[in-house]
């Protein structure tokens, strides 16, 4: 059936049998909680939805409910994610698995609505697992997979599934809805370890006034996060057997014999894939590696797919001001120790604030890799089309000069 990315996320909560949905509105996520609220009110979904007074409270309630044993689902975007950021660290430290959907939206100031990934990547160090979706089907499937991985007793960490605002949240695509029975087979009820109970009291979030002990807990969380990669791969095998769709932490696209490769994630992957196809038709050996799992970072897979290529561009739809793209150094770090690492690793920044990226721009990136543009410098290339630049300059001129 045809549905938006937001609707697919809501179906993830419903088919995943979420017990509890603390909510708070923010564009472009709101359709998710509105949809679930309606289902719950109509009795079509057996869960409780509570609208909180902030995202910070929403995430606090979410994590606490998970510790009491509920399967929890919630969603936010952008400012909301940052407002709640303190709690993300707490929730992973509590070892409270839960689902947080982030519908990506660029961060103020200047305030805007369309996506880039500075919001979700601000959560990259929190301990939340991160999965990034390109299609509406992927949104639904990754939610089911992420619940399964997050609740695995060898992982026990919360998860974020990211989808791009507007480009995916409001785009209708065909989505196959799995049967409830198949989902229950793949994702059994959550069986929490040591939840709050009258007959077996527990303390969560105890103070640790000792650096060695603190380090121990952080190391434990880190290794659990790393373990999530193989747990994901195993779960994905069963997922494929039951549902017929295959997911790996990274998705190679036309990578056989590709000499020039773009590394990318989320909805612009679709446009980049189109560029790869067009280049291939012209005999240009282009390929694409889509990052589906951002935490844990699939370093060894990235290295395996990118080693021995002639040139690689990393497309960052985000910016760490004063440094560059956030994914770029992670790819570089994955490759540094490989003898046959690509000679050229080109950092590219594009799509900030939802700036549209055309197929032609994607093709330009490949041209730049081939011509070794930027080989001498680690500074990223910023994508901007001539007509966009002129429109922008006009607006800046208007702001400066026009007086009433």
């Amino acid at each position: 059936m045809l549905m938006t990315g937001n609707m697919a996320a809501a179906w993830g909560a419903r088919l995943g049998r979420a017990d509890y949905i603390p909510a708070y509105p923010i564009t472009p996520q709101t359709e998710i909680i509105e949809t679930i609220a309606k289902w719950v009110r109509l009795g079509e979904m057996d869960a409780k939805l509570v609208q909180m007074e902030s995202e910070h409270s929403m995430l606090t309630a979410a994590g606490a409910a998970s510790l009491a044993g509920a399967r929890v689902f919630t969603a936010t975007s952008s400012q909301g994610l940052l407002y709640a950021l303190e709690m993300l660290y707490n929730i992973s430290g509590w070892r409270a698995p839960m689902m947080l959907i982030n519908v990506a939206r660029a961060l103020a100031a200047p305030i805007t609505l369309e996506p880039d990934h500075n919001d979700v990547l601000a959560a990259r160090d929190t301990g939340f697992l991160q999965f990034h979706a390109e299609t509406c089907q992927e949104v639904l499937d990754l939610i089911l997979l992420a619940y399964r991985v997050a609740e695995d007793s060898s992982v026990l960490l919360p998860a974020i599934v990211n989808l791009d605002g507007f480009y995916l949240s409001f785009t209708r695509e065909k989505v196959t809805l799995p049967s409830e029975q198949d989902v229950s087979t793949f994702l059994p009820d959550y069986n929490p370890p040591n939840p709050f109970r009258a007959n077996m009291p527990v303390s969560k979030g105890a103070t640790v006034l000792n650096g060695a002990l603190y380090s121990y807990f952080k190391y434990h969380m880190h290794t659990s996060s790393i373990r999530a990669l193989s747990v994901f791969e195993e779960a994905a095998l069963q997922f494929e057997r039951i549902f017929g769709r295959s997911y790996s932490p990274v998705e190679p696209y036309m990578m056989d014999d590709a000499e020039f490769v773009i590394v990318i994630s989320n909805s612009f992957s679709t446009i980049a894939k189109q560029a790869v196809r067009r280049l291939r038709e012209r005999g240009f050996p282009a390929g694409l590696l889509k990052l589906r799992m951002l935490r844990p970072f699939p370093s060894s897979l990235v290295a395996r797919y990118l080693s021995a290529r002639r040139g690689v561009a990393v497309f960052d739809q985000n910016i760490s001001l004063g440094s560059g793209g956030i994914i770029y150094p992670e790819v570089v770090a994955s490759l540094y120790h490989r003898r046959n690492r690509p000679q050229l690793l080109l950092p590219v920044i594009g799509g900030l604030g939802g700036k549209q990226i055309t197929v032609e721009e994607m093709e330009k990136i490949f041209e730049a890799i081939k011509n070794e543009i930027g080989a001498e410098s680690p500074d990223p290339i910023f994508l901007m089309r001539q007509e966009e630049l002129e429109t922008t300059k006009n607006m800046v001129r208007t702001a400066k000069e026009v007086q009433i």
Partner: protein, 321 residues
Amino acid sequence: MELQSKYKTLRDVPQIDYLAPGGSLCAGCGGLLAVRLFHKVLGKNVVWVNAAGCMTIMVNYPLVPLKSNWLYTAFASAPAGAQGIRDAFDILIRKGKIPESEDLKVVVLTGDGAAYDIGLQSTSGAIYRNLDFYYLCYDNQAYGNTGFQVSSATPVGSATATTPPVPSEPAGNIQKRKDLFEIWRAHNPPYIATLSSSYTVDFLRKVEKGSTFKGPKLYISLAGCPTGWGYDPRETIREEKLAVETGIWPLKEAVEGKVKHTVVPRALKPVEEYLATQSRYQHLFNPVRRKEVIRSIQEQVNLYWEEASKREDFEIKLVNT
């Protein structure tokens, strides 16, 4: 009809403790005493939902002095944590995933910094949603855990680490306390009360009485703070008692919004009998006596009781200023 209370005299204080001795808090901590008494009434089936503050240090890995459940949340959002736990229990019990015998009373535990300042928004939200929970604020009238900085619960005239008395500001803190009781009351919860461990029977009765209501049950307990207020740890009960006897800390409750004072001193003691015992007020007495500040504190107390006595029609002898 008034509830027939189990608690009539000090002999009725339950012997059982759910808080082990020898914890890591300061000697003479009034907040800890309040937690201990509160727990005696509620019994063991409790989950404490804590905001950053002095009590956070009580649960210090790997030693936990509690026989009940505990969650440390964050500074701003303990009531939201209570919401998540209450909701989770409700739905898991309804779905038959856990038996009712595993259910817990959910108690938010915060200091005044969280209750009056950073956590006011999440408290407001939880009361608005009519969450079935208890809120115990141990009010030591400043940010005690960080070394006694001013909070919006700090009384006029108190020195704190961020409002030290200096020649241009000789009174120390000059801001009036927020009236949290009235802020809470404006949300229409079924039960609110102020407490002091020094009036133990009054304390226990109020917790008992609150338990009969479904919805938010909110308590502000005075928490004598030897390190912050500056007095000998053995004097906590005496200090808190003086706070009540001088009328500085009124003991009252609001049932479905209707306010009633539960302890009315026949004649108020002069506030300086209380102020003079604590280092945080020493600048009001030495090197020169700040008569106008002491008088204004007394006037505020008088005004409060004058209005209360009219509203509730009781007799009280005020202190001449």
